[in-house]
Symmetry: C2
Amino acid sequence: MSNRTASSLSSWLPILDWGRRYNRDTFVSDGVAALIVTIMLIPQSLAYALLAGLPPEVGLYASVAPLLLYAVFGTSRVLAVGPVAVVSLMTAAAIGEHAIVGTPEYWAIAITLAFLSGAMLTLMGVLRLGFLANFLSHPVISGFISASGLLIAASQVKTLMGVTAEGENFFALVHSLVLHATNTHMLTLTMGILTTAFLFWARKGLKPLLLGLGLKARLADVLTKTGPVLAIAVTTLLTWGLDWQGQGVKIVGTVPQGLPPLTMPVWDMALWKELAIPALLISIVGFVESVSVGQTLAAKRRQRIEPDQELVALGAGNLSAAFTGGFPVTGGFARSVVNFDAGAQTPAAGVFTALGITLASLFLTPALYFLPQATLAATIIVAVLSLVDFGILKRTWAYSKADFVAVLATLGGTLGLGVEAGLVIGVSVSLALFLLRSSRPHIAEVGLVPGTESFRNVLRHAVKVSPALISLRVDESLYFANSRTLEDRINSAVATNPQLKHVVLQCSGINSIDASALESLETIEKRLHDSGVTLHLSEVKGPVMDRLQGTEFLHELSGKVFLTHYQAIQELAPVE
Amino acid sequence: MSNRTASSLSSWLPILDWGRRYNRDTFVSDGVAALIVTIMLIPQSLAYALLAGLPPEVGLYASVAPLLLYAVFGTSRVLAVGPVAVVSLMTAAAIGEHAIVGTPEYWAIAITLAFLSGAMLTLMGVLRLGFLANFLSHPVISGFISASGLLIAASQVKTLMGVTAEGENFFALVHSLVLHATNTHMLTLTMGILTTAFLFWARKGLKPLLLGLGLKARLADVLTKTGPVLAIAVTTLLTWGLDWQGQGVKIVGTVPQGLPPLTMPVWDMALWKELAIPALLISIVGFVESVSVGQTLAAKRRQRIEPDQELVALGAGNLSAAFTGGFPVTGGFARSVVNFDAGAQTPAAGVFTALGITLASLFLTPALYFLPQATLAATIIVAVLSLVDFGILKRTWAYSKADFVAVLATLGGTLGLGVEAGLVIGVSVSLALFLLRSSRPHIAEVGLVPGTESFRNVLRHAVKVSPALISLRVDESLYFANSRTLEDRINSAVATNPQLKHVVLQCSGINSIDASALESLETIEKRLHDSGVTLHLSEVKGPVMDRLQGTEFLHELSGKVFLTHYQAIQELAPVE
């Protein structure tokens, strides 16, 4: 029996469930995990705020309240909620049309976007609309994430080069970078490249090195995650010590100290209307990312998450972000995996992490004054390039051309037209291709395999058929988009076989018949009747037969409904 | 072998096929049919032109060239092409936004609309896109036609009452009629109601009466169709003889004599862009109406029509309408049935009908001067009310709630928001409901029926199961929108059955597996593996297995693929 049926209150407030069983062991595990995640989150939060076009401290603000709210409402034990790369990029794209980066209006719109996204997520959760996320196919998500990774990396390269570059899409951005290449600030670039190289190496090479030095596996794991913090510390110290700022290296500068502020979204219906679509897309992408991370981690411990309750938890998280100076957040992949690996047992780990981030924003921010922006750019580039996976193109090409087209459309749309257009194009193309496929069902003429009672495609096998009878097997549920194909197939069979007396539809692949298909069957029956041919059915599934009972079609069917196709052939036109 | 393969030239020019075999018998049959259709078409053409907001003679023009072109390119032997009610209504709706009824601009836009529609239809035919019409489900078409019938009837009631009334939708129109009721012109209304009553009676009561008088069935049939012509003759004579015009009855007035004029569409890209969507919708609705009529009639004589070639023929017809002063046309239901019943053998009947209409527009138009507009309104009302079928609501309610919702959305959308919005809403809703249904597949846990080798739903039947093994049957092809449902179902099974060792998917209802579903299967396999459970498949269909061969999933599958589900149970966890 699931918890949901056991207690409906604790299904809305999962904290009542795990909170009751909290003890010293879980406290220690959660505390250790929280410490590690906090260290990892500080540079990430700053970097993703900059990526979203916001002041760095906003990233810290967005990492406090959402973690607390998720701890109350969330069903995953280990999900860590906060700013993530793709959602930050989408936030920047959405606000870019309404305000200029760095202005108070820009921040106010980010807060409003978090508010709208939070409201939508909560509403979808209450209405149990979590299934809507299923319409984002894996190829579309994969293409979208890869393209977003490239877009983000390209946007960070200008910071790495110390130049200004702009472009309304990926290709324009790369073109602009090439045009501005002559203005490259060499010190910034050198430091940026070295930092990037170090971070890449830290991901792959640091752990074996630490293990080689005799460290325990768990400690080596944890130290590996501190790569970005190390990079920040070293480059900040160098910039301060060698006065790199004086030589033109751009630094983060003053980051205000203090608790997250109390803020309000902009109450402007016209603005809400314009932000509605971006907010919806951000909500769906955030939800999909969060749920897939949560599900994967939960399964490893034979736990489950409730997608609809996750919507409520993410909604509450985003609403809280809106009232504490943050911007749209979701459950992040990297931080959740770290939290899981570090041994977090309950969402209390999130509460402790929130505490850590609060302490950082109270006391640590002055230490970030000399942090070079290029270091943060390097952190982002390393993080997002791991998201880019062109292998999906090869895999879908080999397995399914329709899926390949969907990936390509999403990739091309996102790189060429931006994140929102890319996502909409991807979903539209994948749905259109699915409809197209299901509208052209595989209809095989089948014949009896000699010496057996089974039937196979006449084009593939040596089978027996009678000129007076045609057996058609439809490998698809019948609905409006494909029912005329069946009509046409049967019309053609009748027009080309003058000796035909019986048509038998083998219905083993038909899982449902909608009203249009039922009318088509009636039309087929009438037309066959007019031509002196009888229509029969065989192997109709139980649920389909339940529906057909009581319809005029079954009542007026001139032929019979046979339990097995073999019985039909034996009775109507034996071939053996 | 079909004609298409026998001769590709005659597949593009079906006239080469039937023209070669033309003889005296077919000539006589076609001639008689043409005479009857011509008599029926004259009032219809005038009436539908008025319905479209055009001068009455335009209806005659639109009934000449399209018939000739269809005779050359069409694949139906009996389809009669010309103005039809629903397309005329859609034409009025499309032009209404750009010009005022009665102006030369209005007519010019009608001509342009015919041109665009013709070009689109031809292009769709050449690109073999006829299958796109399949995405209009029967419930949507039925709801759309019924709502259009009501809209048309309501628009004609004002002419019947002799008042002016306007409304941007059905309800506003009816409201306006009620407000203007006090201005009703009683003579017009009395004549209109009597004419309507006569026409309704002529449909049902005239034939039995004529048969009772001793006429032969065929002749009685033909005379029944002359009801509208009789109504026109009598009311025109009365209006002339009793000077009803002087008493305020509105008449048709001068209808210019002469051949259809040579005209050109407006070459204005901005206008084309605005007309593109209406032209596309008109094309699709016209094509669907035409093809369903053509297919039904062809089947009665064991003939077939080629939908893609029909697109070309209707395209040529509409293009010809654009260059001869006409407006959008299609194959009409009533006229085609009359043509068929009257014995038309080949499209030459259409050529003779075109000749008849030409003669009428050359010599008959002065006789129409005193024709009351209310008589034409009565003809339209009687014609369109036969299209209204609310029975579809009852039938779909009984058979399928999803189809019921689609009908209701189309009806409501068309009546409340107009023909274009209604059609778009209907198609969107029906596609969304189909996707929704397929995204929530029926997944049954099955168990062994004692004493057999077959498996049934554990919730419906007394069957045997083992606590170590769960058998799941998925009654739907797996694709992105439903693959997570399967993940969730299996997660839940694993989380609630601690003794579980094996999951076996019975794949007999799975007709395809897309790349997303394949990834989901991989995820399921990994998660089950992490939980110490083994995944197996059974009864995988041939085409699905072909695809799976060579994928990583099949390679890494820890369990087996069994030919039958019974074999799987026997080997893994026998229950008998």
